[in-house]
Every structure is written in C-alpha cells, then in structure tokens.
C-alpha cells in the first residue's frame, strides 16, 4: 500500500479544525480532516451561543443557509443564591439588526453544516477514526498515526484541533495531563417547549432570543456557573462546575442540574417542558496561563486543544474558529517558502497575539487562579448581594438607614472591610 500523503492533516472536525480546512481547501491546498465521532458535531455539546463576526473570511454571508436557532437580543446576568437572584440585563434594538451579533445554535447540526462547507471547498473529512500520535522524523512532525490499519498519513504540516482532552498535545509533550482545578464539567439539558411559550416567557417575538448567565452558590454552597439559552422550540439549560469542587463537595452533575431546574427563578421558565437530550462535556477554563506550547516543527495547535476559552465571556467557539483560520493562513505563508519549521510557523503565535484571541485570554489570565484561591468571590458575594437586596426591599418598619447599616455590618462580618478592598483590587487587576 502506497503512503497516504496530504499537504495538511487536521486532527478533529470541530470549529477550529473545520475553519482551518475551509480556508486551506479554498486556497487549493490538499487537506484531510480526521474526526473521531460518527460525524462532525456528534461529540459536541457547546452551550449554544455562536458569534457571527468570526465567520468573516470563512463562509460568506453567514448565517445564510446555516442552521441557527434564534438571534440574541437580550443578555441577562444573574447572581444567584439558593432561592433568589440579583440580576442585570441588557436588551438592545441594535442586536435585532443584521448582521446579528450572535445566534443560538445546536452544534450537532452546526458542525455538520460547517463540515459540508469544508467538503464543498474540496477538503476530505474522514469520520470514526482516532488519531493516536504524530509521526516523528528527526524531531519533526511529518504526519499522524490513526487507530486504523494502514492508518498513517504523511503531511507537510499537522493542525491539532482535537478538543479539550487533546491526545495529540499530550503525546507531543506540549502539555501535561488536564488539571482537575482548571477544567469544568458542564452538563446541559435541551428542554422542549412551544415556540409561543418561549416567546411569551422571555418577552421576545419572531426569531429573537435571550440568554441568561448565572453565577453563585447554587448547590451545597459550591460555586457554579449556569446558563439558559433560548432555541427555536427549546431552551438549553446547563450548569458547570470546576471538577475539583465537584469532588470536594461530593456533587454529581445530575444533582447539580436538578437543583438548577428547581430554582424558583428557573422553574417557571421551563415549566411544562420535556427534556429531549442530556449532555455533558469538559471545558478547559485554565485560560492563558494554562495554554500549551502552540507551535512545533510541522505542527500547530488550535481551539480547545490549546485552551482557547474565555470563561468570563462564555466564548470558545469563536476563538476556535479564529485560531483555525489563523493557523491556515500561517500554513499558506509557510508553503510559499516551503518551510514548515517551528521558526516559520511561529508567525501563528504572532497572529494570535495581534488578534482578539490572545488579547482577551491575556486580559483574564489571572482570573482562574484568583477564583481558585478566593472562593468568596463567586460564593459569598452573590449571597451577600442577594441578602442585601432582600433586606433593602422588604418593608418591615425598619428605616432604610438602619437597614443599610445592618447590611454594611453584615458584609464586614462576613468578609471584612480590608478583605473587601483587597478583593476589589484583585478583580480590578485581573479584569480591568
């Protein structure tokens, strides 16, 4: 059997791998994409909000023809406690104008569609095949080994986009095992509801949608991040927690989502709905400081595999798409010189640095560690906010001044004035 040889071999048909494949195939590069799942999207669970801007240069006139659900016109942020929340929301008519800022999508359908764009452009996608390790020659990556017989593929360059638990990044020695303190487990249910019911409950019409992001102590006092997104005829309700916290608080994901569904602010929104799907996935939340080496001789890493997730703004797929696109552009430049050494490919890192990808990841780089060491930020503060709001808004004959004094006293007792100042400073340092 003769060698299987391609210009570029891409590991993983997610947003990063597929966007790289589209850009390369359109430029006439001979590209193969190897996907582990039954089809692209089969293994995906993304929360469901997809930003339009990153599709520039990949698919023209997005979202024409793409399987999108609702365009988001209102985003709500809630700090939740056991039976309450304090919230902030932003609804804007500007979000209701094309091109829409973002849409909810089902990744199983979306990735299938994106894969179709790649094959239409001339890329070859092979499913149900696991890439086990790179093929090395004189310390350089010259291809990939798959788990199939006669499964070696030679390539000028390999783009690794095999997701959060990247086998390739590990076998290259680019990263160590995932750390339980920097990976979240997210569980999600798709809850079916009538389109009209969703429109009424969320105060929207037509194709408009709403997202709610939640944070706080939801269950057994452990910090959790949760979300609710409206689709056409369903809502996606999910909750994520750092794996280390799950272990420490002996929480299983099922309990977590069940308690979320019973939360008094959530249960009326999903009442009468039927759970259609139940999904779980890991999210790399370590941010900038947790990123692996991104480039080697004949190889680049993109997307979740490179920890390109902005946990603060629940962005991941747009970072993946952009990084895939930049990796492809880097290859095209390198191909002109015929040089795929790490020195040549290092312009991929430069491109990432110049783009919003690295800039955003850097901006929040201290945050994962800060939250890890300062649990009160996500645990005590939401609780204090909720207690304060409740006290202030309850009319019970106590003067407002008296109430404020009491709230203040309570806060000082719970956290302490200097600690509060410190926390403020730390947050300002890491997100400001």
């Amino acid at each position: 059997m003769s060698d299987i040889k391609y210009d570029v071999a891409i590991v993983g048909a997610g947003p990063a791998g597929l966007s790289a494949a589209i850009v390369l195939a359109k430029a006439g590069v001979n590209v193969i994409v190897i996907e582990r799942g039954r089809f692209p999207g089969a293994k995906n669970v993304m929360g469901g909000v997809f930003y339009t801007d990153c599709m520039k240069g990949i698919v023209e006139k997005f979202p024409n023809g793409a399987p999108v659900e609702r365009h988001i016109v209102e985003q709500r942020m809630w700090m939740i406690d056991d039976e309450s929340y304090v919230g902030f929301g932003h609804k804007n008519a500007k979000f209701d104008k094309e091109p829409y800022n973002c849409h909810t999508v089902f990744r199983a359908q979306f990735d299938k569609w994106l894969a179709k764009q790649a094959t239409d452009a001339g890329a070859l996608i092979v499913n149900q095949t696991v890439v086990t390790e790179p093929i090395m020659k004189d310390g350089k990556v010259v291809g990939i080994k798959t788990g199939r017989p006669e499964g070696d593929i030679k390539a000028n360059c390999v783009i690794v986009a095999d997701g959060v638990n990247s086998l390739m990044a590990k076998s290259l020695g680019f990263r160590t095992k995932l750390k339980k303190e920097s990976v979240a487990l997210a569980v999600k249910e798709i809850i079916g509801l009538d389109e009209k019911v969703i429109n009424d409950r969320f105060n929207v019409t037509g194709g408009q949608g709403v997202t709610i992001e939640m944070t706080g102590s939801l269950f057994k006092g452990a910090e959790a991040m949760a979300f609710l997104y409206t689709n056409k005829k369903s809502v996606s309700l999910g909750v994520g927690m750092i794996i280390e916290d799950m272990i420490e608080h002996k929480i299983n994901p099922n309990e977590l989502i069940e308690s979320l569904k019973k939360h008094p602010a959530i249960s009326p929104l999903i009442a009468g709905g039927e759970t259609k799907e139940y999904l779980a996935h890991m999210i790399p939340e370590g941010g900038y400081n947790d990123m692996p080496q991104l480039v080697g001789d004949g190889i680049m890493i993109a997307g979740d595999a490179a920890t390109m997730v902005n946990a603060v703004h629940r962005e991941g797929s747009n970072l993946a798409i952009t990084s895939g696109k930049l990796a492809a552009q880097t290859y095209l430049e390198a191909a002109e010189e015929g040089d795929f050494s790490s020195a040549s490919l290092s312009s991929y890192v430069d491109k990432l640095q110049e783009s919003f990808v690295m800039s955003d990841l850097k901006k929040y780089k201290a945050l994962p560690k800060l939250l890890q060491k300062n649990r009160q930020l996500l645990d005590k503060y939401p609780k204090l906010m909720n207690d304060a709001a409740f006290e202030l808004l309850t009319v019970d004959g106590v003067s407002k001044q008296e109430k404020q004094k009491h709230i203040w006293k309570n806060m000082k007792q719970q956290i302490g004035f200097t600690n509060m100042l410190k926390d403020l400073y730390k947050i300002w340092r890491s997100v400001g």
């Binding site: 059997m1 299987i4 193969i32 070859l124 996608i125 092979v126 499913n127 149900q128 095949t129 798959t146 788990g147 199939r148 017989p149 006669e150 499964g151 070696d152 593929i153 259609k276």
Partner: protein
C-alpha cells in the same frame, strides 16, 4: 467473482421510543443506521473478495439520505454502491420492495456483469419480516440459504459453495451451486476495523443512482397501491411498571418478600 449485497437503512431501533398516548413510534431525532445484519453481510463479502479476488457491489432502495448507509458499506471495503430511489416506490411492502430490488439488481448485472454471490441480512431491525431477501432470491430463481452462520467452502472453478445455516433446532450444512443467495446472521463474522484507505475511498466515491428513468419497471408492481400487506392491528406493549422497593432489616425484607410472593405461588399451584 462478483458479489452483490442488498442493504437497508433503518432507524436505530435501540433509540426508538413509544408514545403511549397515541400508540405510535417516536421517530423524531432517531438516527438512521445501516441494518446491523447487513453490516455483517458486507464484511463477509469484502472478506471473500480479499481472499478470492473480484469486486463487491452494494444496492439499497430508499430515500436520498440512504446514501449514508451506502457510504458506510464503501468504508467497509465495498467497491461500488447503487441507490435505487424513486417516488413510485413509496409505501412498498416486502413484495413490492423485492420486486424493485430485483429490477435494480438486474440493471446492475447489465452494468457490472454476472453476480456469483448475493447477500442480504436475515431481516431488517425495523420490520423484522425476513421476507425481502428470500423474495429477491425467488424472483431470480436462485438457491437460497437463509440464516447463514458460516461459509465452509467456496469453490469457484467447480461453482459450488458449502455453507452452514442456523435452524430452529440446530445447524444445517448445505452444498449449493453458484450463483447462490444468502441471508446472514450477525454471528457470521466479527466486524473488522476498516483500514484507513477504505474510508478515504468511501468519502471520495460517487453513489450511482438508479430510478424509473434508467431501470425498466412494471408500475403495476410498485409502491403502496401494489403492496398487498395490510396491517390488521397494532398495539402498544403495556408500559412496564417500576418494581416495588422493600426496605428494612434483612429479615424484614425476606419476610415481606415471602408475603408478596406467596399468593402468586398459591395461584400457580
């Protein structure tokens, strides 16, 4: 040697649920798969091809999306795949389906040459009738070996095969002339992990299309109107109730269990 395999795309029966209010199947969102028995039929065909030489052709009847099932056959190592698709076939029962596939197969013989071995699954997991395969064999007037579990010997020079089939009471080993028609059991072989070149070839392959346009069809034998099978009655199996949970000390639970079982035992005896 030319091997022709008949396959069907079916809903993944393990994921089909029953709507107990209407008594109908919930097909929405159920993935379509290649009928598992036919996956083994293709596996056997490719194994024989690799041993004796020749080619493997696949045919299915179904809507355009059935080409997914054909692709899967190609990624198992089949050489060419034909999709027989036409509105005229809508609502076909096993009689009309076997007719359509018979005509489709005759066209393939015309295009690809004589067939030595015909394969199909023993039945499809959605209908479980086990009639379509034998129906095609009968129309071709071929010797038929159903419930195939082993091909003991294949002699292409003297044109015979010795094969073992499963019966209700045991096994039968039969000698039959070639060409011959098999319907196969899952125990015929263990599915292999296809080599990567097969998958690449499958992704690049074009599915050949057959329809009333290029296959001569007798319209009086096609579709719902010419399908004599009638569903007389459909019923929903009773929803299984959750078993009772007993609690208490070990002795308590034992005596509670005995109290619950005793009336049944009395009734039976």
């Amino acid at each position: 040697m030319h091997i022709l395999v008949f396959v069907k795309q079916v809903p993944d029966a393990s994921q089909v649920r029953v709507n107990y209010e209407t008594g109908t199947l919930i097909r929405e969102g159920v993935p379509a798969i290649l009928n598992p028995f036919e996956e083994h039929a293709v596996e056997e065909a490719v194994r024989l091809k690799n041993e004796y030489g020749g080619k493997v052709t696949i045919i299915t009847m179904g809507p355009p999306q059935a080409s997914e099932a054909l692709k899967q056959c190609l990624s198992r190592g089949a050489d060419k795949a034909y999709l027989l698709s036409d509105r005229i076939f809508a609502g076909s029962d096993t009689l009309a389906t076997s007719y359509a596939l018979y005509e489709g197969a005759r066209k393939i013989v015309e295009l690809e040459g004589d067939v030595d071995l015909f394969f199909a699954g023993k039945q499809a997991i959605d209908g479980d009738t086990a009639q379509t395969g034998p129906g095609i064999a009968t129309r071709f007037n071929l010797p038929l070996i159903t419930y195939l579990i082993k091909i003991d010997e294949l002699n292409l020079e003297e044109k015979y095969v010795i094969a073992t089939r499963l019966t209700e009471f045991g096994q039968e080993t039969i000698k039959a002339p070639i060409p011959v028609f098999f319907t196969v059991e899952e125990s015929l072989n263990i599915l292999s992990h296809s080599p990567l070149p097969y998958l690449i070839k499958a992704e690049k392959a074009e599915i050949e299309l057959l329809s009333g346009k290029n296959v001569p069809l007798d319209k009086e034998q096609c579709g719902l109107k010419h399908s004599p099978t009638m569903v007389k009655k459909a019923f929903t199996p009773e929803k299984r109730q959750r078993g009772a949970t007993l609690s208490g000390t070990f002795d308590d639970v034992v005596s509670q269990t005995a109290d619950k079982i005793a009336p049944f035992l009395k009734k039976v005896s």
